[in-house]
Structures are given as structure tokens and as C-alpha cells.
Amino acid sequence: MPLAPGALLEVQDVVMHFGEVTALDGVSLSIRPGECIGLVGHNGAGKSTIVSVINGGLAPSQGRILADGQPLASYGITRARALGLRSVFQELALCPNLTIVENARIAHPELKGWRWRAEARRIIAASLDQIFPGHGIDPGAQVGTLSIAERQMVEIAMAFSNSASAPRIVILDEPTSSLDAGLAAMLLAHVRRFIAAGGAILLISHILDEILSTASRIVVMKDGKVVAERPAAEFTPASLVEAMGSSTRELQGRRQAESKGAPVLTLDLPNGQGFHAGKGEIVGLAGLGGHGQTEMLLALFDAHASSWWPARGPEVAFVAGDRRSNGIFELWSILKNTTIASLDDLTRRGLLHRPVEAARGAEWKSRIAIRTPDLDNPILSLSGGNQQKVLFARALSTRSPVVLMDDPMRGVDIGTKQEVYRIIRAEAEAGRTFVWYSTEMEEMGLCDRVYVFRDGAIVAELKGEAITEKAILAASFKGEGAAA
């Protein structure tokens, strides 16, 4: 691949594996002075991973990194910083217990000597004044006392501030998600000034209008690959949404089921429309990650499962996606992990009956194909996918009429997925209700009805044939044209 002329930084054919998962599959990207690259794609497309490779946080499994046309033998965060690369992250990265000035010292190690506080104050104030005129933020204030928007402004100002080394490339990862329209406009105006002065910006946003109006070039990622790369002028909102999805892959095998009778589960949400689910229905929760889907599942769980009284025949069961933090019990055997949610079915005269428990475990071992020679082996002896199957078995083996699933297929191989899909369908046919949050499009295609979330609220409800990748993407991304 020829080197792009005058690129500040370039990555070539980067491949990144996390265990079995391929997060980046041969991505090349060059960042040239005087341009703003808009990077878009759905969850899991590889945007965050490529950003981490560019800012030196991750060393790629394969591929080259070049700066000013020269291949770099070693690359890391320090080297990236020396090249003038700065990052603003979506998750706010300031220390809340320190003042803005003290945080600047951490971000800019060059600030040294007797008068570093005064120097830091001058730099930050200048940068804030330039980007957000009339901001009203005191650089001596403790970060913890600032609002989320103010923190984001400080973080942006810090990235653009010029201490000993000037910034040449700034990565903005969802920078406007906590800014209002006025502040966002100020930031985007500054982005244009910055690139006019010869700097480079890598802008990630799910607000398509922002990308289309600010970026000079748009890179679309999907499944760890760059699927489209064109000047921004050649995209329309509709064509951008289309590029993010794949028109070739059809959603297969829709279930033809109507919701029967009154809803078994309802929840009023603070804004947007409310949620309800009927008996035997598979309801999907879609949208970009972190837009309120998990919070809603937890609210549903809390509303139906008491933390004080044991429930005889619990109303809801939960399948965790983050199995390390709220799924498995690491000290226990596979069997104990499987039966913890349905122990009240396994007692005789008040005591746990081991043979009944073992029989229940064996039944699910064969039903869901947990690959282990012995259920008494420790849970950690299983692969991640099989641990996830144990969590499914735990929830499905209860008598709960409702099963909540929090993106449960993360890191699960395709074979396991097909097995679990089959079981979910069979259980739904038998009258069980499933509420299923997933970031994977195919799984939404298995649902009877899908709610699309954005910014903590339900913004769209799709039914039956209307559940398409395109429709979900359009609702997930803000923008006039995208919704059309």
C-alpha cells in the first residue's frame, strides 16, 4: 500500500486479536495535516480499538505504524504524545479530587519548576477561552465540583492546550455527548479552525450531522474492517447509515408470533415511551451500547425480585453479560453455579437434596451442551462460552415466567449462539417472556418486537418485518436525514 503523501501518522494493515476475537482485521488509516477524519460504525465495529492502537494504548498483533513517513520500531503512549497526539475520551478521565490546574500537570508532564501552577493556569485558561468563549470555569476549581459538561469542556481544552509541545493530532471520542448544542457548535468551530491551521482531528460521533458537517473525510468501520472511505461531501445521511449496515446480510428466520393477552411486564420510563412485554414474547432492546438498556433491565429486575424475602417461584431471572463481575461464583463447581437460582426446587424436608441437584445439573448439561467431563469441576475450568451457557442454564432452569438478558452473547462463539437461540425460541413458544438487550444486529432479528434506545430513553419501537438493521441504526443515530 503506497504511503499517503504527507501523513502525520499512518497505521497499515493492523490486525488485533483479543483471544479468539478479532477486533481489527487489516485496518489501514492515514491521518494527514489539515483534515478532520470522521470515524463511524456500530458497536463492536472496532472504532475504540483502532483509536487505542493509534494513541499507543494497545500494541497491534500485526501491522505497521508510520510517523511522518517513517516506520516506527516501537510505539507507545509516550511516543504518541511526543508526536503531538492528544486524546479526549468518552469516559471522562480527569481526577475528580484534584483541581483543573493539578489535572493539567498530570496531562502535561512538561509543566515543571517553581511556577508550574501559574503556567498551567495560563495554558488552560487560554485554551478554554479560545474554544469556549464565556465558559465561566475557574481553573482553580476542583474537578469534582464541575458539571459533566464542564468536565468535558476542561478535558477538551486540555487536549488542545499548548504547553511545551503543540498538539498536532487530536482524537475526539464522542466529544459532544455531554455538551449542549451551543457548546457543541463552539467545539466544532474550533475543530475547523484547528485543521485550517494545519492540525489533524479524528472525530468519533454517533451524531451523523456533526460528522457530515465537520469531517473532511469519513471512514466507516464494520466488523473490524474499513468498509467505506470517501470525502464527506460524497455521503448523505442515508448513504452513511447504509454503509454502516450491510445490505447483503438478511436477517434470517423470523418467528411469527403475536403477543398474547395482557402484558406480563411493564415499566414506565422517565422520558420517552414506556416499556411492556407480553407472555411468550421476545422483546429486544437495541441501540448503541450504554444508552440505558442495562439500566432498564436492572430496574425491571429490582421491581420484581425482593432483596429481603426469598421468593418461592421467582418472577424474573437474569442472564448477565458481564459474567466476571455479576455472573459466576468463582469458588464454586459448575453444578453449584447452575443451581443457585432454583434451589427451592431441589429440597426435601427443608434440606438440599444432592441427588436431585445432580440430576437437574445433568439435565441441563445435556440440554445446553455444557462441555465438561464432570459438573463437579470448578466453574473456572470452563471456557468463556461454556461459562455463559451455565448462566443461561441457571436462568432457564428456574420457574420464572420472565427472563432478562443483558447482552449475554459477548465473547460467545457462533456454535453456542445457535444452540442458545434454539432454546430461547423453544422456551418462548412454551410461554416464557424474554427481554433481550444485545448489541448484535442478528439477535434483534430473532425478536418479535424491538425497542431502540438513545440517551436513556426509548426512541423507537419496531415490530416484525420492520425490525431491520437499517431501521435500528437509523433510530440509534441522531440526525434528521438518518431518521427518514
Binding site: L331, D376, P378
Partner: protein, 316 residues
């Protein structure tokens, strides 16, 4: 061979082995003359550690940060209130027992109320209640030493079939605790919470109810221990619970329960309780000075824990 391996993998084995070694070392010095008396005393005093140790074990099983520091004050208050109520009369024994249980129940509820409602860490919450309880005990006691009813005093200091009654009671409680921990839903829930509270919650475990019940259970066992100890020693004293704070925690740890929670065992409490008493007896027999005695006690405990923690981890 397999059976031997399984025995060696038991976490409680080492505390028993150590207790036996110390017993032999002590008896050897006196050429066997003291073996009967020593065994008797060891079983009796171990029984008192077993009561509080089992309660503390359930609490510690709940996971990191869970511990009940109100055990000594609780013992003092329960002993004081019960003996004052019974006022040396045999006819008042039943009300005395009931008020003991009530004291334990109230203290357990108070502890968890502070932990839950005010979100105070358990170590601080139980420490605070312990100051309040101790003050209440001082106020009730007023320096008087009331004797236990004769029937109770007699029961507490005698033996049945050559085994001290206190040890028999402790054995009964241990068996019940073992069943509770290993064969009931409640026991599973405690162990689940100890491994991961969020995971337990999402698995449908009534986390708050289980934790409350556990703190109440621990407080009731401590109150019962205070009641029995004051009957045994001829009256309630304000400082009688003091040594049982560290004792209750030490026997859990030496007995092979996981300090981080989620994995506990009852037999180890017995081994550790016997060991703790026998070490002191042995060092006394060898006529060590008090300072050396404490150093030796510490070293022996460290050695037992080191040996026990070297064992192969095995899923339960």
C-alpha cells in the same frame, strides 16, 4: 491413596493436627499426669470459643469487610441482663434464656440496621453498637456480681459421660451450623454472597434478608455464649467478653475458612479453638514468661495458617 488425598485437602485438618501436637507436647512434660484434667479444661474452654467462632464464621463468609466486633459487649450485656433477671432463682431459668435470645436478636437487628440504612461499613457499625452495648451493660450491672441459679451453675461446670456439658452443647450447635452451611439454601446463599454480592443478587438471592439473618445469628450465638460463660464462671463480669473478640476471628482464620469469604467450614472452628487453649496451657507448663508466651502464640498461629494455606485449592 485417594481417600488420603481427600483428607489432606481438608482445610480444617491442620488446626486439628496442631492441636493434637500441642496436647502431646504438654502431656509429655507432666508424664501423663495431667492428661485428663487438661482435656477436660480444653474441651470446656474451646466450647466458649466455638460458640462465638461459629457466629463470626457465618458473618465472615458474607465476604470482604464483613465482621462483627460487637461480640464481647454482646456477651457481657446478655450475661448481665439474664443473671439479673434470674436473680439466682431456678424457676426463672426459662425467662433468662428467652431474654438472652432477645438481647442477641436486638443487637443483630441493630447492627444490620446501621450497616444497611446508614451505609456504614460493618466493621465501624458493629464497633459503634459495641460501645453502646457495653455502656448498657455497665448501667445494668452497676458493679454487682450476681450469681447464676444453682441448677445452671451446676450444669455448666459438670460433665455427662466424661464430656463437659459445655462441650456437648457446643457440639450440638456445631452440627446444626454444619447442616445449615452445607445442606440448606441459606448456607448456599451465604457462600454465594461471599463470592460476589452482585452475582448473588442477579441470581435471585435475597441478599439483604440473608445478610440480616446472618448478623442476627452471630449476635444470638454471642449472647448465648455470654449467658453460658457467666453461668460457668459464677457470675457476669464487665470484662468477661474481652478476649473473645480476637478469639472469634482467630478461630475462623486458623480453622481454614477463607478470610475473603465464600468458603467456610465448621470442623476447623473446633480444631482452632482447642489449639488456642492448648497453646497457652503448653507454654504455661513450659513456664515461659508472659512476653515470650504471646510471641510463641503468634508464631504458632502463623505456622498453622501457612501450612494450611499451602494446600491444594479444591472446589466445594
Amino acid at each position: 491413596m485417594n481417600a488420603l488425598n481427600r483428607l489432606l485437602s481438608r482445610p480444617w485438618l491442620w488446626s486439628f493436627a496442631a492441636a493434637l501436637a500441642v496436647w502431646i507436647a504438654t502431656v509429655a512434660v507432666t508424664a501423663g499426669a495431667s492428661s485428663g484434667g487438661l482435656t477436660d479444661a480444653a474441651l470446656t474452654f474451646a466450647a466458649f470459643s466455638v460458640f462465638v467462632g461459629i457466629g463470626q464464621m457465618f458473618v465472615i463468609t458474607l465476604g470482604p469487610g464483613n465482621v462483627d466486633l460487637s461480640v464481647p459487649a454482646n456477651m457481657t450485656l446478655a450475661g448481665t441482663v439474664a443473671l439479673k433477671l434470674m436473680d439466682t432463682q431456678d424457676s426463672m431459668i426459662l425467662p433468662g434464656i428467652l431474654v438472652t435470645l432477645l438481647v442477641g436478636l436486638c443487637i443483630g437487628l441493630a447492627n444490620y440496621a446501621l450497616i444497611k440504612a446508614l451505609r456504614i461499613p460493618p466493621i465501624i457499625a458493629t464497633l459503634s453498637t459495641s460501645f453502646i452495648i457495653q455502656s448498657a451493660a455497665i448501667w445494668t450491672n452497676r458493679g454487682l456480681r450476681i450469681k447464676p441459679p444453682p441448677v445452671l451453675a451446676d450444669f455448666a461446670t459438670s460433665s455427662t459421660f466424661f464430656v463437659p456439658n459445655m462441650a456437648l452443647l457446643a457440639l450440638l450447635v456445631s452440627v446444626l451450623a454444619w447442616v445449615l452451611l452445607n445442606h440448606t439454601i441459606f448456607g448456599r446463599w451465604i457462600a454465594a454472597i461471599g463470592q460476589s454480592m452482585p452475582a448473588a443478587r442477579m441470581a435471585g438471592v435475597p441478599v439483604d434478608g440473608t445478610r440480616l439473618a446472618t448478623y442476627v445469628l452471630c449476635a444470638i450465638l454471642a449472647a448465648v455464649n455470654g449467658f453460658l460463660l457467666s453461668c460457668f464462671s459464677g457470675g457476669a463480669a464487665l470484662n468477661m467478653g474481652n478476649e473473645y473478640l480476637l478469639m472469634s476471628i482467630a478461630v475462623v482464620v486458623i480453622g481454614g475458612s477463607a478470610v475473603a469469604g465464600g468458603d467456610s467450614n465448621v470442623p476447623g472452628i473446633w480444631g482452632a479453638s482447642l489449639l488456642m487453649f492448648l497453646i497457652v496451657s503448653m507454654l504455661n507448663t513450659y513456664q515461659f514468661e508472659a512476653g515470650y508466651r504471646l510471641i510463641m502464640t503468634g508464631l504458632i498461629i502463623i505456622a498453622v495458617i501457612l501450612v494450611a494455606s499451602g494446600r491444594q485449592a479444591r472446589p466445594r
